[in-house]
């Protein structure tokens, strides 16, 4: 290589296999060749299991390749891993913060581990604190920080010394849009002002779009690499914005489109649907009008996946449900009135009132620590409200008879089925816990196996299955007893774009059949799937209404907003400014 001066990482023909058991092995990387340049942001994107984390760990010198050569900062990763590690910083997906130590103690610990001198610390700490805005929280225990703050602290600990190359593995998973934006501002300024080289893996395409170079991985192979526009432009002529000519919701149109063979991808956007079509025209699709649209990186990626691997988003995800009489969509099934929840002096949820109707998809949106999960736990009867009333399917689940819980299904944020027993045993157990038995239980379990693609791993230990599979199983278990209302707490956190589309296709089928859905999410574009959303911050309800209404509410001010994410940030920041002004007065 003659251009090594400009290149931070050169990998060629990288192969890495892992033994799954004695007989089988999984090929995580299958002949990967790529480059990352100095002073640039390089993104690794691709669905779950593409090999992003494996590739980062190879670069970090934490594992050795089975085949191929890898040079990092002009060092050979196979023979000089220690020299590489002395010059890079790596932030894994779950950064090892010590939750019982304070912010400052965590920083000191990592500075000690990396042998950062006292003089260097004095110069470095104030900058890190300014960058991450953690200065006011120095004494707070890391375990008490919000998800976004934890990630920022993780980044600060990673940067206690000045690395030549920074590796970030999905740094924004489970982080709300505000914190996500802040994290990216930190990373961008490091690249622009200090010329740091950064490699980041992500499943958010808008993040990859900000990078200078994108490497698309799929099942251990490089599908494409280049500047983001070289990938998005593949979808030129195929991207459209679709409007229904019928009186149907964006979600209904999206579901209709994504089920079609001639549609590669469809997501609701701004009350309409962004679609990537196989053909460059849309004549064949009835009851909708199509306008050409500027392609996005996600459009390009979906097209690429479809062309090269035949992967189709949400294929077969629509679930079969028994026909029922048309639900009364006016019936109020969840009703909260002036709900307050305090933990000591801290008010987690403050005077919140809302209603949810039968068959609605209701989204709870808010930054980390906004009170979404607390609201959720109160609705499910897991936590008593300090004051106010909550009625779910006509009962307060905290005090109602146990049978009232028969009406709800609950999918927690963290995977919470039994990891040490098999998939089938988990389904057996939850069927039984909900009173299903005999032929009826078997029928429902077969239904779950079929509709959530669980059959091929029925006898596998649940804890050892990949995350995507666990998420499907958790949802299947919550639906066995055909609940009227399903609660899902951040069901798509950490899920790749394909899995998210699958998930929402299932939700659409459920809502069509009259199941009420209450869902929290960090992905603002997912709010577009909801019939109505509520935005919370610091325990207070800031906005409630259809996605269109919320966008309009945010746009009231000087600037118009196009996306839900912009609307969300505008609403939350406006409220925070008001709170600050009030505190100052």
């Amino acid at each position: 290589m003659t251009v090594t001066g400009g290149v931070a990482i050169v990998g060629s023909g990288l192969v890495k296999r892992f033994a799954r058991d004695k007989k089988e092995s999984i090929t995580a990387l299958d002949g990967v060749s790529f480059e990352a340049r100095h002073g640039e942001l390089t993104a690794l994107v691709g669905p779950d299991g593409a090999g992003k984390t494996t590739l980062l760990r190879l670069v970090a010198g934490l594992m050795r390749t089975d085949e191929g050569t890898l040079r990092v900062l002009d060092l050979d990763a196979a023979t000089q891993p220690q020299e590489i590690q002395n010059r890079i910083s790596y932030m894994p997906q779950r950064f090892g913060l010590y939750e019982d130590l304070s912010v400052q103690e965590n920083l000191d610990l990592y500075a000690d581990l990396h042998g950062v001198s006292v003089e260097q610390r004095q110069e470095r700490y104030p900058r890190l604190m300014e960058m991450t805005a953690l200065a006011p929280f120095r004494e707070r225990l890391a375990g008490k920080l919000s998800g976004g703050m934890k990630q920022k602290l993780g980044l600060a600990c990673t940067l206690v010394r000045s690395p030549d190359l920074l590796l970030l593995d999905e740094p924004t998973v489970g982080v709300d849009p505000l914190s996500r934006r802040e994290l990216w501002e930190i990373v961008s300024s490091l690249v622009e002002n200090e010329g740091l080289s950064v490699v980041v893996s992500t499943s958010y395409m808008d993040e990859a779009e900000r990078c200078a170079h994108v490497v698309v991985l799929h099942e251990g192979k490089v599908l494409a690499d280049g500047v983001p526009s070289s990938i998005s432009s593949r979808a030129r002529g195929h991207s459209f914005i679709a409007t229904s000519t019928q009186n149907e919701s964006a979600r209904a149109l999206q579901a209709r489109l994504i089920d079609r063979e001639d549609v590669i991808d469809a997501v609701p956007q701004g009350g309409r649907v962004r679609a990537v079509l196989r053909a460059e025209s849309a004549q064949s699709i009835p009851e909708a009008t199509f306008e050409p649209a500027e392609p996005t990186l996600e459009d390009g990626l979906m097209l690429l996946l479809r062309q090269q691997t035949n992967a189709k988003p949400a294929a077969g995800a629509a679930i079969e449900l028994a026909d029922k009489p048309a639900p009364d969509r006016e019936q109020v099934v969840i009703e909260t009135h002036d709900v307050v929840r305090k933990f000591g002096d801290f008010t987690a949820v403050n005077r919140t009132s809302f209603e949810v109707r039968r068959g609605e998809v209701f989204g709870l949106l808010g930054p980390n620590g906004a009170g979404k999960t607390t609201t959720f736990r109160m609705l499910c009867g897991l936590l008593p409200a300090t004051s106010g009333t909550l009625l779910v399917a006509g009962a307060d689940l905290r005090t109602a008879r146990a049978e009232a819980r028969q009406n709800i299904g609950y999918v927690a944020q963290k995977f919470s089925l039994y990891g040490d027993i098999t998939v089938r045993e988990n389904l057996d157990f939850f069927a039984g816990a909900y009173g299903l038995r005999g032929a009826r239980a078997n029928e429902r379990i077969d239904w779950a196996m079929d509709n959530f693609e669980l059959s091929n791993r029925a006898g596998a230990a649940t804890g050892k299955l990949p995350g995507g599979f666990q998420r499907r199983l958790a949802m299947a278990a919550a639906l066995l007893h055909e609940p009227q209302i399903v609660f899902l707490d951040e069901p798509t956190s950490g899920a790749d774009p394909l899995a998210r589309r699958e998930f929402w296709r299932r939700i659409s089928s459920l809502a069509d059949h009259g199941t009420t859905i209450v869902v929290t999410t960090h992905f603002m574009e997912e709010a577009e799937y909801c019939d109505r959303i509520m935005i919370q911050d610091a325990g207070t309800m800031l906005a409630i209404g259809t996605p269109d209404e919320v966008r309009q509410q945010a746009a009231d001010e000087s600037h118009p907003v196009a996306t839900m994410e912009e609307a969300f940030i505008a609403i939350v920041e406006k409220s925070r400014d008001q709170v600050r002004a009030k505190d100052a007065a």
Binding site: F343, R377, C380, G381, L382, L383, L397, A402, E403, R405, Q406, I408, Y410, A412, K414, F415, S416, L417, Y418, G419, D420, I421, E425, D428, F429, F430, G432, A433, Y434, G435, R437
Partner: protein
């Protein structure tokens, strides 16, 4: 009622699958209990078959030789030294040359013959109180025999010899007979307590407990569903130790199996209640582990397993009243060795019922009301 029963059975089945599925955890439930029983049976025996002793015979009379002949002839005592003065006693003991020094005073024969009665002093190595105590007890046994013979041959009513030791005498000279039956309760409690203490805490830590609470399962049903598998596992472990006692150590069983298992079920319910309450109180498995360890040691010590409760300070004796193991050990020993029936054991059984009926409802309450 039917629905409740069905839900409980489903939970019991899940618990048993989770515990017994993994071959390693099956081994963990059987192997340690066998090893510990053997360990206690062989290593934790206080019987002595060779007591090294030193003799300080200040009298050197016919009576003193007569007494010493009994000691030496017992087959247990083995004289390693003859001392000449009291000043040598300290040296013999501290250098561990003898476990015991027998001191016969200079007026020994004169006092016996005059009917005043004499005293033999047994000085034991206090650093090892168990063996020392046993050795001293053996000396008093020899004194007893000497007295009995003396009364017979002299038609006297008074016993001429007394010994300066207050330790009690183990009539059958076999501590193993006391120890092994106690283990039927004590060893199985160790693992049952650990198992139950982790059961709810594990679910809480892994988030599955919330999932359980949103199902129609009621807290009481969860409690029963968690308690029954633990009790079953405890009974299996007790049975393993019982089999070892019967067929390996060959200790004859005097009582009825029905009484034994009734007692064990009561005991396991009390222990499981404590475990579940601890577990429901803990936020994490680590906390539950810690609480269990903190509790286990005093429960073992204050149970009468290794030291007699009647020898403890009064305050300690009151604390033992809250310890289910105390009742269980007494109960199992009496059933096993004496063949005691339910009516005789009533005083050991009702406290277990009281403990279980306090701890189990506490656990149920904590399931939903633990402060977050």
């Amino acid at each position: 009622m039917n629905a409740t029963l069905h839900r409980i059975l489903i939970l019991i089945r899940k618990e048993l699958i989770a515990v017994l599925k993994d071959p390693r955890s099956r081994i963990v439930l059987v192997l340690p209990i066998v090893l510990q029983s053997l360990l206690f049976g062989y290593a934790a025996t206080f019987d002595l078959d060779k007591v090294a002793y030193a003799l300080l015979d200040a009298d050197r009379s016919g009576a003193s030789s007569d007494f010493m002949a009994r000691l030496d002839g017992s087959g247990v005592f083995h004289r390693v030294m003859n001392l000449n003065s009291a000043s040598e006693i300290g040296d013999a003991i501290s250098r561990k040359r003898a476990l015991l020094v027998v001191h016969i005073p200079s007026d020994f024969e004169r006092r016996i013959l005059s009917g005043q009665g004499a005293t033999v002093q047994a000085i034991t190595d206090g650093r090892n109180s168990n063996t020392g105590g046993t050795a001293a007890a053996y000396v008093s046994a020899a004194v007893e025999r000497f007295n009995a013979d003396w009364r017979q041959s002299h038609d006297g009513l008074r016993s001429p010899l007394t010994i300066e030791t207050r330790a009690w005498y183990n009539a059958n000279l076999e501590t193993r007979w006391n120890m092994i039956p106690s283990l039927i309760a004590a060893l199985s409690m160790l693992q049952v307590l650990m198992l139950t203490a982790l059961s709810v805490a594990r679910e809480r830590e892994q988030g599955t407990f919330d999932q359980l609470l949103v199902t129609p399962l009621r807290p009481t049903e969860i409690m029963v569903g968690k308690a029954v598998p633990s009790i079953l596992i405890g009974l299996v472990q007790s049975s393993i130790i019982l089999l070892l006692a019967l067929f390996w150590f060959r200790i004859p069983f005097q009582g009825s199996l029905a009484t034994l298992y009734l007692g064990l079920i009561l005991f396991m319910s009390a222990a499981v209640g404590i475990g579940l309450a601890l577990s429901a109180f803990s936020a994490t498995m680590q906390q539950a582990m810690l609480y269990t360890f903190v509790l286990l040691m005093p429960m073992m010590l204050l149970s009468g397993l290794t030291s007699a409760i009647s020898n403890m300070p009064t305050a300690m004796q009151y604390i033992t009243l809250a310890n289910p193991l105390r009742y269980a050990i007494e109960m199992v020993q009496r059933i096993y060795l004496e063949g005691a029936g339910v009516t005789l054991l009533f005083n050991d059984m009702w406290p277990l019922v009281v403990i279980a009926s306090i701890t189990l409802p506490t656990a149920v309450w904590l399931f939903r009301h633990r402060l977050v």
